[in-house]
Subunit: 227 residues, 2 copies
DNA sequence: CCGTATTTGTCCGTATGTATG
DNA sequence: ACATACATACGGACAAATACG
C-alpha cells in the first residue's frame, strides 16, 4: 500500500508479458525518452530520479546506461554521471562518411546475394515514396524512407553490417539541431533511391554501390544546407 | 585481517594510481582475461566468483559486462548469465566484409587528409615488417602489423571509423580457432602492405582503397586456409 | 574559500525466479 | 518432482566527489 502501488507502471509489465529483464526495459525507456525528445542532447541522467519514476532500482538503470554508452547514445563523466550524447556537426560528418562506406558495401552484397523478390520489394517502396513526395507528405515519406534503408541493409545479409549501420543512424539522431528530411528535397532524394534500385535490379554492383554512397553523401550535404 | 587482506589486488590499485572506477578496472580485467586466453570463447562468467577474485562487488562486474556485451565481446542469455562470445566462421566472414569496406574508406580518407609524414611513417613500418618477415620473426611481425593497422585507421582522422574498426578487430580475436598471422604468408602479406602505402604515397585514393580492401579480403582467405 | 546538499560509485544482505541435474 | 546453483533485482547504507550557496 505504499508508493509501490502508484509508481510501478514499468515493474508491472514484467509480471504480465514475456519476462523482459528490468535492464532491457530501462534501455528501451531511455531510448524512448531520447527519441521522443523527453531527454535532449546534453541532458544529465539522474539515476535516483529515473529509477523512481520507472519504479525500479538504481542497479538496472546503471547497467542500461553502460549499454547505451557503448552504443554511442550516452557519454559518462566519472563522478558526474551519464549524459545524453551531443553529436557535433563534425562528428555527424564522420558518421556520414562511415555510413556511406557501409551502405556501399551493402549495395555490393545485395547484388551478390539478394533475391529478385527483395529487390522488387525495394522498388515498390520507392514507388510509394514517389507518391508521398509528390503529395509532399513529409511524415509518410520519412517513415517509408526509414523502412527502405532498413530493408536495404537487411537484404545484405550481414548482421555485423546491419548492427553497425543502425548504431550509426541512432547516433545521427542526436545531432544537436536535428534536421529531418527536408521538404523541398523529397523528389531529389527519391530520384537517388530510384538510381540505387535500378542498379540493383541490373545487378550492377559498382553502380549500385556508387549510387548509394552518393545518396548518403548528398544526405549530409542536405543536412548541412538545412542548418 | 579477513580475506580482504589477501584478495584486494585490484581494489588497492584505485587507492594508489589515478582513481579509475572499479567498473573500468573490471572491463580491463575481463578484456585481459579474454586476450590472454584465461577466458575462452563460450565460457560463462560467474559474477560472484569473478567479483571475489578481483576483490570487488558484483555491481561493477555487471556494469562491465553490459559494456562488453555491446562491444560484441560477451553475449548475455537471460537468467543464464554472460558468456564470452563465440565467433563462428560465418560471423568472421561478415566481420571481414565490414572491415574491408571500412579499411577502404580509411584509405580514401588518408589520401585526402593525412600528411606526408604520416604516410612516410607507415612506409617505415612496412620496411620493419619486411625485415621481420625475412627473419620469420612471427611475433615481431604480428606486433608491427597491429601497429600498422592502428596507425592506418588513426591517420584517416575519423573517430567513428576508428572505434568501429577496433570493435571489429576485437571481435575477430574471438574466432573459435584463432589463427594468427600464418608463418609462410608474412612476405605475401607485407607485399600487400607495400602496395597500399605506395598508392597512399602517390595519393591515389582508388588504388589505395582497392589494395587495402584486397589485403583484408586476402586476410580472410588466409584465415580460412589455416583452419 | 568554506560548509552543505546532492549525486555518483560502491558494497552488502537478501529475496525471488529460473535453469540444471 | 526436487534441490541446488545462479542470475536478477531490490533496498539500505556510506564514502567520496561534485555542485551550490
Amino acid at each position: 500500500m505504499t508508493a509501490s502501488q502508484t509508481t510501478n507502471s514499468a515493474a508491472q509489465q514484467i509480471n504480465q508479458r514475456r519476462a523482459k529483464t528490468i535492464t532491457s526495459i530501462a534501455v528501451d525507456a531511455i531510448e524512448d525518452m531520447i527519441v521522443t525528445g523527453e531527454l535532449l542532447a546534453g541532458d544529465r541522467i539522474n539515476e535516483s530520479t529515473l529509477a523512481e519514476s520507472l519504479g525500479i532500482s538504481r542497479g538496472p538503470i546503471r547497467e542500461a546506461c553502460r549499454s547505451l554508452e557503448q552504443a554511442g547514445l550516452l557519454t559518462s563523466k566519472t563522478n558526474r554521471g551519464m549524459y545524453v550524447r551531443e553529436v557535433t556537426l563534425d562528428e555527424a560528418r564522420e558518421l556520414y562518411e562511415l555510413r556511406g562506406a557501409i551502405a556501399g558495401l551493402a549495395a555490393e552484397l545485395i547484388v551478390r546475394r539478394a533475391g529478385d523478390d527483395e529487390i522488387v520489394s525495394l522498388e515498390r517502396l520507392v514507388d510509394q515514396m514517389q507518391v508521398a513526395a509528390e503529395e509532399s507528405s513529409t511524415a509518410q515519406y520519412y517513415k517509408l524512407n526509414l523502412q527502405f534503408h532498413d530493408d536495404l541493409v537487411r537484404a545484405a545479409r550481414n548482421n555485423a553490417l546491419e548492427d553497425t549501420y543502425h548504431k550509426i543512424v541512432n547516433q545521427l539522431h542526436l545531432l544537436r539541431r536535428r534536421g529531418l528530411v527536408q521538404e523541398g528535397n523529397l523528389l531529389i532524394s527519391n530520384a537517388e533511391h530510384r538510381r540505387v534500385v535500378t542498379a540493383l535490379a541490373n545487378r550492377d554492383a559498382a553502380a549500385a554501390s556508387a549510387a548509394l554512397r552518393e545518396h548518403v553523401a548528398n544526405g549530409l550535404t542536405r543536412l548541412i544546407a538545412s542548418l
